[in-house]
């Protein structure tokens, strides 16, 4: 006991370990991942900082309820594979979550160490364990429950859909994923850039699901090639809709359809999914601006700004109508963007765009804002300052202010209730929609959110779907 305590004390003195990463001046010239990750030594050192609390708060901070102290203890003991397996008990995509989760708002936010010192680097440790397992080539295929004879269709292969598929295949159901794009992974492949989430990692997670027996059909647009009702007629017993982001939002200001003005979805899809950064080796082109403006200040804005730098921009500005404290991006992403030379123009919003005779954007008129009283989001409302208009030159604009709902599937699915913004209405607890046998989760329910929240929604829906399939329930909800 005395020894335990002593060890605990010693642990506290070690500072939070940083990951080695590419230098800013190098990395803006390539699309390779920025951090290199922990070495085994660094990982064990960091794992040693964990107090192994009797009543850990970090677990409650995790939307998929990972046993955080347990996996960290295994890393500390040097059982890295064991740590990866522990993670996978609750999270089928640890290599992804370790990279893109907003840990500072979840597990790390409630870490006791963080009260006096910096919290344990849970995300970096998660990433280390998952990467270790993959690098060893020792991906364990867990035993599945005996076949139930039930069939599940999952529309969309983003984080929500992949979680549902992973959970339900292990419970003995037959699972088919239908993906509208030609490649599986949803936002993980079309949205998040290679330098933040290497596509080989996403592919490894999808290969793992395929090894588990999940059938994957890409290039299959549910709602068009088959409706939800037709899937039921074909013998599927339950259906999960994880359709993801829909129509990109624009600002509805003059000149918005000039060439060189992209939605972040288009800009990132061209670069990430279609590999336009490798043009002309890959056929899809992308406009390479020298003087770029990105609107919005979430993670997607940071990804767009940093992509623009890597595509050869001289100047990239984030233009945001509120102030720094309201920026929704992760601190780490803002930090990386700043290190790379992205400029921040806060309390500024565009009023109109100007273009040349060929219809290409050449500049924009902006207006300064001040913050008023908090609005319904709890953030202070930006108010335009009269007479503060000024103009800025730019030859490329990326609008990253979120996405609306995709009308494609809802309009072909009778019985599916939508809210007034067009998102699918689903129970907050279990993801049940208003249509019998149909669940939904992720951005198509909540609007633009995070990978881990979509995974959490997938987890809850999968549990509810399993109960429904096994109970022979005939009533709804």
């Amino acid at each position: 006991m005395a020894e335990e305590k002593a060890k605990g004390k010693k642990r506290e003195k070690v500072p939070r370990q940083k990951m080695l990463e590419q230098k800013p001046e190098d990395r803006v010239k390539n699309f390779d991942e920025v951090p290199f990750g922990y070495t085994p030594e660094l990982a064990r050192l960091e794992a040693g900082r964990c107090l192994q609390c009797k009543k850990p708060k970090c677990n409650d901070g995790c939307p998929v309820e990972i046993d955080i102290p347990a996996f960290i203890q295994l890393i500390y003991e040097g059982d890295f594979i064991g740590a990866a397996h522990k993670l996978k008990e609750q999270n089928s995509l640890p290599a992804i979550c370790g990279r893109v989760c907003p840990q500072e708002d979840q597990c790390e936010k409630v870490c006791i160490l963080g009260k006096k010192d910096e919290p344990v680097a849970v995300g970096r440790l998660e990433r280390f364990a998952a990467d270790w397992e993959r690098a060893q080539g020792k991906i364990e295929i867990p035993e599945k429950d005996p076949p139930t004879g039930k069939r599940v269709a999952v529309a969309g292969s983003g984080p929500a859909g992949l979680t549902v598929a992973g959970d339900l295949i292990k419970k003995g159901h037959e699972v088919t994923i239908f993906e509208a794009l030609h490649k599986t992974g949803g936002v993980l492949v079309y949205g998040i850039p290679e330098f933040r989430l290497p596509k080989a990692i996403v592919q490894a997670e999808i290969d793992y699901l395929a090894q588990l027996g999940v059938e994957i059909k890409a290039g299959y647009v549910i709602g068009r090639i088959k409706t939800v009702d037709e899937l039921f007629e074909e013998g599927y017993d339950a259906i999960f809709l994880g359709l993801g982001a829909g129509l990109p939002l624009f600002m509805n200001i003059p000149g918005e359809n000039l060439c060189g003005i992209y939605s972040a979805n288009e800009y990132l899809t061209r670069s990430n999914l279609m590999k336009a950064y490798l043009f002309p080796e890959y056929d899809t082109p992308i406009a390479k601006g020298k003087n770029v403006a990105v609107f919005g200040a979430g993670n997607v804005s940071m990804d767009s700004a940093r992509t623009a730098l890597r595509l050869g921009a001289d100047k990239v500005r984030i233009v945001y109508r509120r102030s720094r404290v309201e920026m929704p991006a992760r601190i780490e992403e803002i930090h990386h963007a700043e290190e790379e030379g992205v400029e921040f123009h806060l309390l500024t919003t565009p009023a109109r765009f100007m273009g040349d005779d060929d219809g290409w954007v050449t500049g924009m008129e902006c207006i300064r804002m001040e913050l008023g009283e908090p609005d319904e989001s709890g953030r202070r409302r930006p108010i335009p300052i009269k007479g503060s208009e000024f103009s800025m030159d730019c030859d490329l604009v990326v609008v990253a202010i979120g996405a609306g709902a995709n009308p494609l599937l809802p309009t072909t699915t009778p019985g599916l209730e939508l809210n007034k913004r067009g998102y699918i209405v689903a129970d907050e607890e279990d993801g049940k929609t208003t249509k019998k046998g149909v669940w939904a989760g992720g951005d198509i329910v909540t609007g633009s959110a995070t990978v881990i929240l979509a995974m959490g929604a997938g987890r809850h829906a999968a549990n509810s779907m399993h109960d429904y399939l096994m109970s022979g329930q005939t009533t709804w909800p």
Binding site: A180, H182, I225, G246, L247, F250, E256, P280, N406, P407
Partner: protein, 278 residues
């Protein structure tokens, strides 16, 4: 992978038709819809017209004009070759109902889009007058098919080498002046043709539908590459179109957006021609 079963070249090898085995799409596709094709692993996604389907045989026919690298690459394929991705059917199907007299105007490769739509209007019990045009006789496509799909087919060529010497809009004007009670004009073709056609039918106050072909990437309502201004509002052609009220469309903006990547398209095409000398 989807196998090309038949290949037909038209319009002096500037236009090509494939019959491809895609049973799921063949079963579902309706007039007015399109597919997205990715020719190979490094390919781009481009929307292409379905000029017909055979649900029993499980085949679709696509027709494309060779305008750049991807279409040149497609034309280089032959019977038995495979295409990596064909995704669809996409877009809102044509709303076909019995109206009375309907004029279907197709220009250039637009005739391919127009063909199944024309057929559908005829089958719905309308009196269908079709007008098809091309720059010159040898570039005319689907004349026989359009003849069978309509009650009355008029042909125009810009150079007078066949049919009426002039534009499709000349013949359309004659018909509209003739006093027939025309309920609807459907116009599909190059943007300038659609623009002038809509200007004319607006003067006659005849409802006009056009099918637009902006650049698309995902084509499932996610990226917004295909946005077009209709009635002053931004619309997404891939999920809200491709058909819109022609009198509301900002054609000048559409043409500029279609030309956004001319430089890159040339780079790709030059690279392709070097690799595959014809």
């Amino acid at each position: 992978m989807f196998r090309i079963l038949e290949k037909r070249e038209m319009a002096e090898r500037t236009v090509c038709e494939f019959k491809i085995e895609v049973p799921d799409i063949a079963k579902k596709a309706q007039p007015g819809q399109f597919v997205v094709i990715r020719a190979n692993e490094t390919g781009e996604r481009i929307p292409l017209t379905m000029a017909g389907t055979d649900p029993e045989a499980g085949t679709i026919n696509i027709i494309f004009q060779v305008v750049g690298k991807t279409t040149a690459l497609l034309r280089s394929l032959g019977e038995g070759d495979e295409i990596v991705d064909i995704i669809g059917p996409l877009g809102v199907p044509t709303h076909v109902e019995k109206l009375g007299t309907v004029i279907c105007v197709g220009g250039g490769t637009g005739v391919a889009v127009m063909y199944p739509i024309t057929k559908a209007y005829k089958e719905a019990g309308n009196h269908v007058i079709a007008i098809v045009g091309a720059r010159t006789k040898d570039l005319l496509i689907l004349e026989e098919e359009m003849k069978a799909a309509s009650h009355d087919l008029r042909v125009t060529t810009d150079d007078g080498s066949y049919g009426h010497h002039g534009f499709v809009t000349d013949v359309l004007k004659q018909i509209l002046d003739g006093g027939d009670d025309v309920k609807l004009v459907v116009g599909i073709g190059p943007v300038p043709m659609m623009k002038f056609l809509c200007k004319m039918t607006k003067e006659y106050d005849v409802k006009t539908v056009v099918s637009l072909n902006p650049i698309m990437v995902d084509a499932t309502g996610m990226c917004g590459a295909c946005r077009v201004s209709v009635g002053g509002r931004t619309r997404f052609c891939c999920v809200e179109g491709p058909e819109f009220d022609g009198h509301q469309v900002d054609f000048d903006e559409l043409v500029k957006r279609q030309r956004a990547y001319l430089t890159e398209e040339k780079v790709s095409m030059d690279r392709f021609t070097e690799q595959v000398p014809e």
